[in-house]
Symmetry: C2
Subunit: 287 residues, 2 copies
């Protein structure tokens, strides 16, 4: 997709494709959604995109609008097309509220199939004090111009179509792209710059997409194929500043057929804006 | 509490205090429990102990018995006394099943108050392949005899009673006990050896306690007071070997009034048996 005029928060492809509609004004908490085919990776809808959809529904249903911590358990692969999101307000406090959301789709025979269930605690990021006592340092990623995007080399060896790559502007650290040419580093690391292709800046909702948008670390561990997420928890720590984000993903423990992926997202103001961890099933085939 | 004859898995204080009883054989998934006053820290019931209770109920309700990943959102402080745990089986698959559990207590006027809600995916740890490609290394903790327990120095400056300390055998790395004598290191680190006081060995359920049992890293950051957990997700990666565990907790980002605590638990066979991360509210008072 060619770069178009800069999109804005609220008026972008991401916002249109994560829109949810209250089904019945008299029945709070139930939303209709349409899973866009534009955010598929191979044939499945990307888990981070789904999380943003659920996050938007919860932000509408709960008294607070910003996700602070979102825990998702993935139940079955989602498909492009209609979906229903049911939310429940569990607790509405003064500074924090907690809710639950479930995304379901329908099989050809009308059977309801649950895709993902989420527990989330929301708050108001703008109401937090300014204190920062972090010891975390931004990841050592080369400058944007020295990282590699789709036009800089051979096409990534992902079989099938990956429509999501057209909607993202990801430039990977050259140290973590060996898998593209069949020479994975053997380290469980994936790093790069992240933006939306239409130039929309990041907000807490889009960070839910960002934490699950880079290629899996398993590619650099020499494993090929699908790395399905079992569980993914994301903490949004502050509202991101405009500009490109840096994402660093690390896997330290691949064992027993499972691996964890720890993601950090840093904004242009050098602030750690999101931390996430997922447990995923390791691919079965070795490269 | 004096050391007694070695307790075993299934026959120990921890097992008795985390027992749950199916309320009605005709109604699956609803359990009665009694929150023991023996696992309180200051006046609140410890969050890891609660997690083990919920984990035991889910292990009974789901077709698989071992917690793989458990995500808990804490809603209100629990009190010793009766509680009800309601579970729901969300998905029962061949190798993994996912459930939800909610622990509620009752106010004096009979009002139901929800304390904690959990999403969890269970499986069979013994059915996992033996492959280990971890790059994680055990934490550098001094030998057991060189770490410090309650009898080795001044009493920890935790106000109020902390009954849980009598049930745990924790020996802290001397590098992370400066807070006890008013000289915190300033680093967000807490490390030590962990066991149950009655000698019961670890299992996947007790690991849910272990990840939230050490003093908070905020003490070493010079902050005093309660660090309430907002969300805690634990991944159990393999069944722990008998013998003492090593626990390492790290905080890298204290900002906006919140901090994350990343815990790793290693067993006597040098395997990474559990990884957890929690988001907690930072204490308001500085040391």
């Amino acid at each position: 997709m060619a770069q178009v005029a800069q999109a804005t928060i609220g008026n972008s492809e991401f916002d249109r494709d994560t829109a949810v509609t209250l089904r019945d004004p008299g029945v709070p908490g139930v939303y209709d959604a349409e899973l866009s085919a534009g955010w598929t990776i191979i044939t499945a809808v990307n888990g981070g995109y789904l999380l943003a959809l659920l996050g938007r529904a919860l932000g509408d249903a709960l008294p607070h609008s910003d996700p602070f911590t979102v825990s998702a358990h993935y139940l079955s692969p989602s498909e492009p097309g209609p979906a229903v999101i049911r939310t429940e307000t569990i607790r509405a406090g003064r500074t924090l509220s907690t809710g639950q959301a479930s995304l379901v789709q329908y099989a050809a025979d009308g059977t309801e199939v649950e895709r993902i269930r989420v527990l989330a605690t929301y708050g108001d990021l703008d109401a937090l004090p300014d204190d920062v006592r972090t010891t975390a340092l931004p990841p050592a990623i080369p400058a944007y111009r020295d990282c590699l995007g789709p036009s800089d080399g051979p096409a990534p060896a992902i079989p099938g179509s990956s429509a999501i790559t057209e909607r993202l502007n990801i430039r990977l650290d050259p140290a973590t792209v060996g898998w593209v040419v069949g020479m994975p580093s053997g380290k469980g690391e994936m790093r790069g710059w992240f933006g939306l292709a239409d130039g929309r800046d990041a907000d807490p909702l889009s960070l839910l997409l960002t934490v699950d948008a880079l290629p899996p670390t398993s590619f650099e561990l020499g494993l090929k194929g699908w790395t399905p997420t079992v569980e993914l928890t994301t903490h949004i720590r502050c509202r991101p500043a405009p500009g490109p984000l840096r994402v660093s993903i690390t896997t330290r423990n691949l064992a027993g057929g499972f691996l964890e992926e720890d993601a950090e997202v840093w904004d242009s103001a050098d602030r750690l804006v999101a931390q996430s961890r997922q447990l995923a099933k390791a691919p079965l085939s070795h490269g």
